[in-house]
Symmetry: C2
Subunit: 238 residues, 2 copies
């Protein structure tokens, strides 16, 4: 799949090539960037009704002028065409409500519309699956991922208690809605059986040692056929 | 006034030297940064009750754990001590409600608690006045600014219809709550009578030609004794 040139249109000082934003989660790291796209640029925001309701409950997102920025509800499993070339489908991923909407101890790992994954297919047939946050690999998710040509997957933590041990936080990965990379219940072990042609860790916390090119943990994921995403990474689909 | 070293504490991987945030406005460019300070770091958010009510109406700001990040209402004119060394006072500035709370045609230039300026004085006597947004120079504001040693002031636009002429937007500066730099009603003319020792333009839109070091507009503000702020600028108070 050839990469279209994405740059502002010549002679249009405030033009942006962003035609749409698809949200897979209502948490801060997924929605705060909308506030940097604000005012005067037309695009669409696509998400489940549940994730869109989070935006609706926060008037700050009205900085995106609703006359220009349409909010488009997308149901799980509903085929959606973006632009002329992309077919998109959302599916439930085990997760939890956004941190800022937690009340007491939230349910972790439910397959609701709070956290979704997305399959993106180009008209030529190339496709990838994007799952930036995942609390556990459910049977439905295993069926969805098995045999996929490219999967970008939650690589938040190496080990569930990593942030606590490093003094960087008080929560486990599980409490934050993330399964770890390592361990018997980790993504490294789980994907060993899924026959995914290309596997890329994304959404990697700065405590995760796979970020260090010379770490044994990086060597372990590389040996298992994973790539570790980096700023500016470009992925060619075929 | 010596500048204290502001850096993360050694051995504390998630420590931040930010002890407090004082908001002068509820608009996106003043509050969105709070979402990058979130989770696990204790500090105070200081603002007028009206500006704090904007945060309260947006659950997304609960990402700042209220047990760690106290919201501190500050009345106009109320003396406030921040840390051990700084005395702070808020005052009304002609402005308007935040863009995302506008309904129909908002009142422009009212002296409410929606937009404020702040005077900051150190214990040694050095002080400055900070006014990042200002729709007009009211009599009260003139009294507040006259003779100040250092003023940081709204330099959004050079000319009121600048964004429209450049095709960068549909609004005048006045409609956005900003007085222009140039013209008979501009800040350049108004400050000529205020005897402010050091004047610095801040909050400068990317259409404003004073940003260009070789522009006639930059020459004009420099000739009038103004400085133009830049990323990383440090201001030494005495």
């Amino acid at each position: 799949m050839a990469t279209p040139a994405l740059h502002p249109r010549a002679g249009a000082p405030r033009h942006s090539p962003v035609a749409g934003v698809l949200l897979t989660n209502g948490d801060i790291d997924h929605v705060a960037g909308l506030l940097s796209l604000r005012e005067g640029h037309a695009f669409g925001v696509y998400a489940t009704p549940r994730i869109l309701s989070v935006l609706d409950r926060n008037p700050v997102f009205n900085a995106l002028d609703r006359d220009l920025v349409a909010r488009r509800p997308v149901a799980l499993g509903q085929p959606l065409t973006l632009g002329e070339r992309l077919a998109v489908e959302l599916f439930a991923v085990p997760g939890k409500v956004p941190l800022y909407l937690e009340e007491g101890s939230p349910e972790i790992g439910g397959e609701t519309e709070d956290v979704v994954g997305v399959r993106v297919a180009a008209d030529g047939g190339a496709s990838f699956v994007f799952v930036p946050g995942c609390a556990r690999l459910s049977a439905a998710l295993v069926r969805r991922l098995a045999g996929a040509p490219v999967v970008l997957f939650d690589g938040t933590l190496w080990q569930d208690d990593e942030m606590i041990r490093l003094g960087a936080g008080s929560k486990t990965g599980q409490r934050m809605g993330h399964m770890s990379v390592s361990g018997s219940g980790g993504s490294l072990a789980a994907f060993a059986r899924l026959e995914v042609a290309r596997k890329i860790y994304i959404h990697i916390n700065n405590t995760n040692p796979i970020l260090l090119e010379d770490s044994p943990e990086r060597a372990a994921v590389t040996a298992a056929g994973w790539e570790v995403a980096y700023d500016g990474m470009e992925i060619e689909l075929s």
